[in-house]
């Protein structure tokens, strides 16, 4: 699915992934997908002949939480709202840092250990703006976007909080994994 701005045009909770919002004029690309993320496609979205730097951040899934082994991780989202929130973050960061392009893509569903759950790519005339904008974007995505992460351990599962290292909300041991998108 691809939609032009305004994002409300894509406001459908039952939207199947991959789902995306693109502001082609401003070179802003936002997407959510159940498929493995592709580094080159994320970077290609922000290429520009005016760019002197592209910064790419790839967030990967750890095999432990405070030394407790993690079996699997699973992400779920309120898709239309998450797309809208990421787009709004991209718009403000792009303007603040004078970026040429920005792309954010987040993976949903089960993500294998060591695989990427999120990509942020930004292009700018000079590297300093690109470094700073990349970090700022990632932090805002972690803080605000309507995506939830579940970590499954040998003896149960938790919804992990957004603060690094903070204890999550423990689910019942017999809890089956929440179905997404229904």
């Amino acid at each position: 699915m691809s939609a032009s701005i305004p994002p409300s045009a894509a406001a459908d909770a039952t939207s199947a992934t991959p789902a995306s919002l693109t502001d082609a004029e401003k070179n802003i690309h936002v997407s959510l997908t159940h498929e493995p993320l592709q580094l080159t496609s994320t970077v290609d979205r922000v290429r520009s002949p005016k760019a002197g730097a592209i910064v790419l951040f790839a967030g990967t899934t750890r095999d432990n939480f405070q030394d407790q082994p993690v079996k699997t991780l699973s992400y779920s989202a309120y898709v239309p709202l998450a797309l809208r929130t990421i787009l709004s973050i991209c718009q403000s960061v792009k303007e603040k840092h004078g970026l040429l392009g920005i792309a954010v893509t987040h993976r949903l569903g089960d993500v294998g250990i060591g695989e990427e759950s999120v990509h942020v790519a930004v292009s700018a005339p000079h590297r300093k703006a690109a470094w700073e904008a990349g970090e700022e974007t990632l932090e805002l995505v972690k803080e605000r976007v309507e995506v939830w992460k579940m970590e499954c351990f040998e003896d149960g599962a938790v919804w992990r909080s957004n603060k690094d290292g903070q204890r999550g909300v423990r689910m019942d041991i017999d809890e089956t994994k929440a179905d997404e998108g229904k």
């Binding site: 409300s8 406001a11 909770a13 967030g59 990967t60 899934t61 750890r62 992400y75 779920s76 989202a77 309120y78 239309p80 709202l81 809208r84 987040h106 759950s117 999120v118 990632l138 995505v141 972690k142 803080e143 605000r144 976007v145 309507e146 995506v147 939830w148 992460k149 579940m150 919804w159 992990r160 909080s161 957004n162 603060k163 690094d164 909300v169 689910m171 019942d172 809890e175 929440a178 179905d179 997404e180 998108g181 229904k182």
Partner: protein
Amino acid sequence: MDTFRLLYFGPAESFTKKAADTFSAPMSLKRLVEALEERYPGIGEKVLKGSMVTVNLEYVEMGDEGVVLKKGDEVAVIPPAVAVE
């Protein structure tokens, strides 16, 4: 019967063990919170406290007594967002 949908995400979905419920419309947000407590005892303390609510993708204050949910609205319980490590 006129209705609106309530969507549950993350910890809210785990607590109710379902992705969505349907309620009759119109209904005030205040009344919805009471109805949820009746249907899912403990949800107020364990989930709703600290969560936010959206109506048609716009955030509203959980304590806003002026909010009335109308036929066809898409309402959602949004627990705190999580990390993308």
